[in-house]
């Protein structure tokens, strides 16, 4: 058992959702954690909509579903530019892309995750060979390293990152929930300001340091979640049965 002093930061990073909203602004680059809406922060997405934030340059794995996760921001037409790997489960995103309302850059999922991770890790970018022989390689700078050719993919960071976690202590150390972890630990590191919406907030010292996934130093603010306010696709299918 490691001796852990009860001394330490008594300052809490917990703020209200109203206070969190003061960090959002029109035209901001916004990274949103989650995968298909699983692990996306429901309360922070709602407050973005309530506060009329618009012209967002969004970076997310995907656009969820029209009523789930970052998909809501698309449906409400708050996003003007998007970097994602997939928009297939959100027909609204496809429609806005086709009629020119939404500018979309597609990046292979693993490369996107790693570009975000690189941003969070303070790196300039990554070297990757995924996508050679496809339109992904178009316009990409290449470099030869150890006799192999790679594309240079610049790192991604954001003005604001919003994520979801299961538990936080007041210092902002985070533990995630099963497959809702997905892109959240990466997005957490890549925001100039990172706000985590969490299911449970405990005093610093209550989380086992060995189990912390995201060290609190990457997290600027935490807000208490009220939980998911949407129905999952599989729930809707059950309802119609």
């Amino acid at each position: 058992m490691v001796y852990q002093s009860t001394e330490g930061s008594s300052k809490t990073k917990q703020i209200s959702i109203e206070e969190a909203a003061t960090h959002f602004f029109n035209g901001m680059t916004l990274m949103v954690g989650g995968f298909g809406g699983v692990g996306a922060p429901p309360g922070l997405i709602n407050v973005l909509i309530d506060k009329q934030i618009k012209d967002i340059y969004m970076i997310s794995n995907d656009t969820g579903f029209p009523w789930i996760g970052p998909g809501k921001l698309i449906t409400e037409k708050r996003v003007s530019r998007l970097i994602a790997s997939h928009i297939g489960s959100n027909p609204e995103a496809g429609k806005q892309m086709q009629n020119g309302e939404l500018e979309v850059e597609f990046i292979p999922q693993g490369t996107l995750a790693e570009k975000i991770r690189a941003g969070g890790m303070g790196l300039g970018g990554i070297l990757v060979d995924v996508g050679f022989g496809t339109i992904v390689e178009k316009g990409k700078q290449t470099v030869e390293v150890q006799e192999k050719t790679f594309m240079v993919e610049p790192a991604l960071t954001a003005d604001v990152s919003i994520i979801y976690a299961k538990q936080a202590d007041t210092y902002g150390n985070l533990i995630y929930d099963k497959s809702a972890r997905n892109t959240n630990p990466l997005v957490a590191m890549a925001g100039n300001v990172t706000i985590a919406e969490v299911e449970e907030i405990v005093p610093a010292g209550q989380l086992d340091p060995e189990c912390v996934v995201t060290p609190g130093v990457f997290v600027d603010y935490i807000v208490q979640s009220k939980g998911v306010d949407w129905k999952w696709v599989w729930e809707l299918k059950q309802d119609t049965k």
Binding site: F35, G36, G37, V38, G39, N61, D62, F65, A84, S85, H86, I87, G88, S89, G94, M97, Q98, V104, F106, P108, Q109, G110, T111, A113, E114, I116, R117, V128, D129, V130, G131, F132, G133, T134, I135, V136, K166, Y176, D177, K178, S179, A180, R181, N182, T183, N184, P185, L186, V213, V228, W232, V233, W234, E235, Q238
Partner: protein, 220 residues
């Protein structure tokens, strides 16, 4: 897809025969998802998902779903012994490092060289590639499950893909409602026909030459 439920399961059942004990496998959305039903439980196969699970199990019983435990398509799943969670970067590290034995995915077109197109129909449907490029390029074996022909009856197995590619020379095997085809040294080799289709029917509805090297058996 336009295929009946029995045919979809016939394809999935055939694909599962390619999966050996202890393999690390990724199953795509659609018919590939059904393959899980036919992998023997005692094989110790570990299913991988892009959202960060290795050791994914089947669907939970009704009422036991957990919104935070799902496959890459967003549907609830369970776990098997030895499972782990990790972030998406690690999920793709597993793929790029070459640790996936088999990837099973759907496609719009496959060429005789093994080129796969499955993520974009320019100007029509642009869903994005998701993890398909990573998976198709980096897995040891790539099995494509799809309809033999498109809705207009045109072959989906062609000499050269017209649609933008997911991977160049990535596919090792194609399983359709009509045939099981290996791709060997950039040639299509007809291995089996699917009941109740004939060799002639398969040859006629395939848009590239099919070689027959051994006796073509019928898969029931």
């Amino acid at each position: 897809m336009g295929l009946g439920i029995e045919t979809r399961h016939q394809i999935a059942r055939r694909a599962a025969l390619e999966i050996g004990r202890g393999m690390i496998v990724n199953l795509g959305i659609g018919i590939p998802t059904l393959v899980a039903d036919y992998i023997p439980g005692n094989y110790g196969v570990m299913l991988h998902t892009e959202n960060g699970i290795l050791g994914m199990g089947g669907s939970p019983p009704p009422g036991k779903e957990d919104g935070n435990l799902s496959n890459a398509g967003g549907y609830p799943v369970t776990l098997i012994s030895g499972a782990s969670y990790f972030d998406s970067a690690t999920a793709f590290g597993i793929i790029r490092r070459g640790l996936l034995d088999i990837t099973v995915l759907g496609a719009l077109e496959v060429s005789e060289q093994g080129d796969i197109a499955n993520w974009i129909v320019p100007g029509k449907r642009v869903p994005g590639m998701g993890g398909a490029i990573d998976l198709a390029q980096k897995s040891k074996k790539v099995i494509v499950l799809m309809n033999h022909s498109d809705k207009e009856g045109n072959p989906k197995i062609v000499k050269n893909c017209k649609l933008p590619l997911t991977v160049k020379r990535g596919a090792h095997m194609i399983i359709t409602e009509k045939a099981v085809i290996d791709i060997v040294d950039e040639r299509l080799v007809l291995r089996e026909v699917m009941h109740p289709h004939s060799v002639e029917e398969v040859v006629e509805s395939t848009g590239a030459p099919l070689e027959i090297r051994n006796e073509v058996v019928t898969f029931q």
